[in-house]
Amino acid sequence: MAWEAVIGLECHIQLRTRTKMFCECEVVFGDEANSHVCPTCLGLPGALPRLNAGAIRMALRLGLALGCDIRHESQFARKNYFYPDMPKNYQITQYDRPLFEHGTLPVVVEGEAREFALTRIHCEEDAGKSFHPERTGDRSRSRVEFNRAGTPLLELVTEPVLRSPADCAAFLVTLRRLVRALGISDADMEKGQLRCDANVSLRPEGASLLGVKTELKNLNSIKGVERGVAAEIERQRRALDSGERIVQATLLYDADHDKLAIMRTKEQAHDYRYFPDPDLPLLVVSEAELEQARASLPELPWRRVQRFVAQYGLPPYDAAVLGDSRELADYYEECAAGLDPKFVANWLMTEALRAVNERAWDVARWTAQVPAARMADFLGRVARKELPGPLAKQFIGWLADEAGGVDELLARHGVSVKGTAEDLRPIVKAVLDENPGPVAQYLAGKTVTMGFLVGQVMKKSGGQAVPTLAQQLLIEEMAARS
């Protein structure tokens, strides 16, 4: 039988607020254990939560960007379960009255534009961290660390509308790009700033009912999501094909060994005893706050990509690459101002991004080293053919690794350039006059002679000519004479 996979994602997005969700402790990672804690985020007796308004402002940007229905009075709830890194043994989250419902994320999957429907997005607090037992003699100990406890999270839940591992990967890439563009999260999956669980079920192709689903946890990279989901689809397909039933369960994906392990089945599922948190009043979002959030929205990444296609005539692929991050897109637009946008796009995508990759840099490092003004000066000269092509490619490396303007770099590397056609044309004419033989050979179809003629121009210009320009002028002049 042909099976169709039905996938829903649950993503946790860590907001990049300065302080935690319900107290004033700074959100800092990598510091000494338990150094950013207070009575509230440690769950000490008598301590109470107070809402971080900045986290809600960030949340509003995401809700608006995704076109969600915004609940003007949403409610915090307690999710009760015991875990050592949960200071209060309940998590403050939202349950039946979340801040956002519905909305869609536009995603391009393998060249096809799709819109993935969302169920909801709500605000909650993160837990601390537990460290695996350490054995000392006959006792084993676990350690708990609360610097992360109380960090603001948004939980985003999709409808079961994804159909393949590729859908999942594209969804996450797009979501990551969005939250970065909105400036609300760094969304680095390796650092846990973006986390993803997947609900996977299979059904006969064309069926409308959903099959029994399993939940995949521990997917901590986009590749991991892709592979884990693929492995689970395959596992369910094999089971169904051999007549087995799928058992509702939570699975852990082990990325190192590409293996799935059952964590718990439905019978062991928690009863979280949700109820409204009596310590927090309703979360009221006013029109004014919404208006403010709307005004703070940057151009959304997918709108920008569309604009790059429409305004600059870039191919969709190029537009998507350059629009990937706000940083790169801003940089591109600054560099392209006053130049041919397609020409600039080509140079950034091939030469600049290659230089970034070769150095294992990120875009930020590049834009810091080669600010747009410096890059635009360089690209302008290339466009005006004031720098020979091969030299220009080498020049990218100098820009990346050295300081100084274009002229300074030329001088430092002992390169002087006879830039313009006006400079070169007399030399070209003289070379043609002095070499009637090779010219005749060239015109007779012996194109290798061009190399000799260019060499003569180079020699006559004292090595300062741009070879491509020399060649172009030679062809023009010969055409004019013949």
Partner: protein, 491 residues
């Protein structure tokens, strides 16, 4: 000749401290080292104190502020940096809070001296102060009887003269009922009026810090010192606190509701008598009696116990032996650490309520219990609001009986729960209530009435309490003459 210092009001003490006539240390020692100290051995109102900390606090207190030099005992569920905060539970044995509750901080800022922590039912769950891991508090008027609860320690300490003012907490009557049993004033303000930050939570939507004193004016002054918005408590009321400085302005023009149907059955005759005397006093002072039928939700007790236990089951989850408090020494894994620490740490009444609350919130029962209770609560709130359309406050019993005997109800939780019937309404409705002492029975037991007002109606309650105080029997210390006769006067 002025009264002995230990019998003085907070107002008199703070005036003399501000004037430089006496020091905060003298004011405090008048209670601790004076005749009242004889009582503490029998009454057992205080669970944490020590002379050094008390004296340090008294010496550090500024000789200015509304409560300059006034010694105050606070219930053991209010966090203090200088004494343990244990909620009288084994699970918090030896726990020291790293911060002061907001009300404690405000007391200190007003010049008050925190002298120690008062006994209570474990985690404020109880109506008799018998469920304390440190042993019960006894009623200073009759040591064979309970002082009420859960704030029995602070109520008793004010009653026998250890301190003029104490703080408790009131989730279902835990200030007003012990105040009634001990013959002192006990105010539960409007929900959110006094910060809950640093009050160890029991039922968060019901909890409110309350004030005990022997004089209506001292309640007003302490309320003025503590009331006000607190950024650390998201449920605190942002609007300015009502002005209670006119507590002595009389009740002319005030209407008081007289829901006599409430005490037609099951209320002790001495209390009905106290209600009549209070009503007469209010009328003599210019108040108007408004007879009315009032049935504040027949399901109030059930609704209250569902909401309170549900919230408690979640609030008390944090006591798990992981970060602080008691950790069972023979735990073998995380699960047994939880189970053993909590089983060893919590007493029977707390365990009972955690189980009840857990059940009420469980999937499949939530709608029938917790949600239904919330609906009942909404209705009760509306019924109270409607009652206050025709009067400025209600006059009704604080408790249906006089103080009962130690051990009398300890094995009958339902009877104990039903003794809260007149107090829980104000917690469900979030409205203020004040217990007012109205003399003593021929057997020597204090009687009391309760005044209930609309939200932010504390002013009218205090004016009425003052009118009853002036016109009726002024509260007095239990057997003060005997105490003085037996005091050798060695100071």
């Amino acid at each position: 000749m002025s009264r002995p210092l230990w019998k003085e009001s907070a107002a008199a003490i703070s005036a003399r401290v501000r004037a430089g006539e006496i020091t905060a240390v003298e004011a405090m020692d008048a209670g601790w080292d004076g005749p009242a100290s004889l009582w503490e051995h029998d009454v057992h109102a205080v669970v944490h104190t020590d002379r050094e900390a008390r004296h340090a606090a008294a010496e550090a207190a500024p000789a200015r502020g509304l409560l300059a030099g006034v010694p105050v005992l606070v219930k053991d569920n209010l966090c203090t940096v200088d004494y343990p905060t244990t909620c009288c539970s084994r699970i918090l044995a030896g726990y020291h809070a790293p911060y002061d509750a907001t009300v404690v901080r405000r007391l200190r800022e007003a010049g008050a001296v925190i002298v120690g922590k008062g006994n209570m039912d474990e985690f404020a769950m109880g109506s008799s102060t018998e469920f304390s891991c440190y042993g019960p508090t006894r009623n200073p008027w009759d040591l064979s009887r309970v002082p009420g609860g859960s704030s029995g320690g602070p109520a008793a300490a004010v009653a026998y003269g250890l301190v003029p003012v104490a703080l408790g907490s009131d989730t279902g009557g835990s200030v007003r009922q012990p105040a009634a049993f001990c013959g002192v004033y006990g105010l539960k303000p409007t929900y959110g009026r006094l910060s809950r930050y640093g009050l160890v939570a029991f039922g968060s939507s019901l909890d409110q810090v309350g004030i005990f004193a022997r004089h209506a004016g001292d309640v007003a002054t302490t309320f003025a010192a503590l009331a006000g918005w607190d950024e650390y408590d998201a449920t605190s009321r942002p609007a300015p606190a009502p002005d209670v400085s006119n507590w002595d302005a009389g009740v002319t023009g005030l209407r008081f509701g007289w829901p006599a149907n409430l005490w037609a059955n099951g209320v002790d005759g001495a209390i009905v008598d106290a209600l009549e005397r209070s009503a007469n006093a209010l009328e003599r002072a210019g108040g108007t009696r408004v007879p009315m039928e009032f049935l504040p939700g027949e399901y109030a007790v059930a609704a209250y116990y569902l909401v309170a236990t549900a919230e408690a089951s979640s609030n008390l989850a944090r006591f798990d032996g992981v970060r602080y408090g008691l950790r069972s020494s023979d735990a073998t894994d995380v699960r047994s650490l939880y189970v053993r620490s909590r089983s060893e740490g919590f007493g029977p009444e707390v365990r009972r309520r955690i189980l009840l609350g857990t059940y009420a919130l469980s999937s499949g029962y939530y709608d029938a219990y917790y949600l239904q209770a919330q609906r009942a609560r909404t209705r009760i709130r509306r019924e109270y609001a409607r009652a206050f359309e025709s009067c400025d406050f209600l006059l009704l019993p604080a408790a249906p009986t006089l103080p009962f005997r130690v051990g009398e109800k300890v094995d009958d939780p339902l009877a104990m729960y039903l003794s809260d019937v007149f107090t829980i309404g104000a917690n469900l409705a979030g409205t203020p209530g004040l217990s007012v002492p109205v003399g003593v029975t021929p057997e020597g037991l204090p009687t009391a009435v309760q005044l209930l007002g609309p939200q932010d109606g504390e002013g009218a309650l205090l004016r009425a309490a003052r009118a009853i105080e002036v016109n009726g029997d002024v509260a007095r210390l239990p057997r003060e003459h005997e105490v003085e006769a037996s005091w050798p006067g060695k100071r």
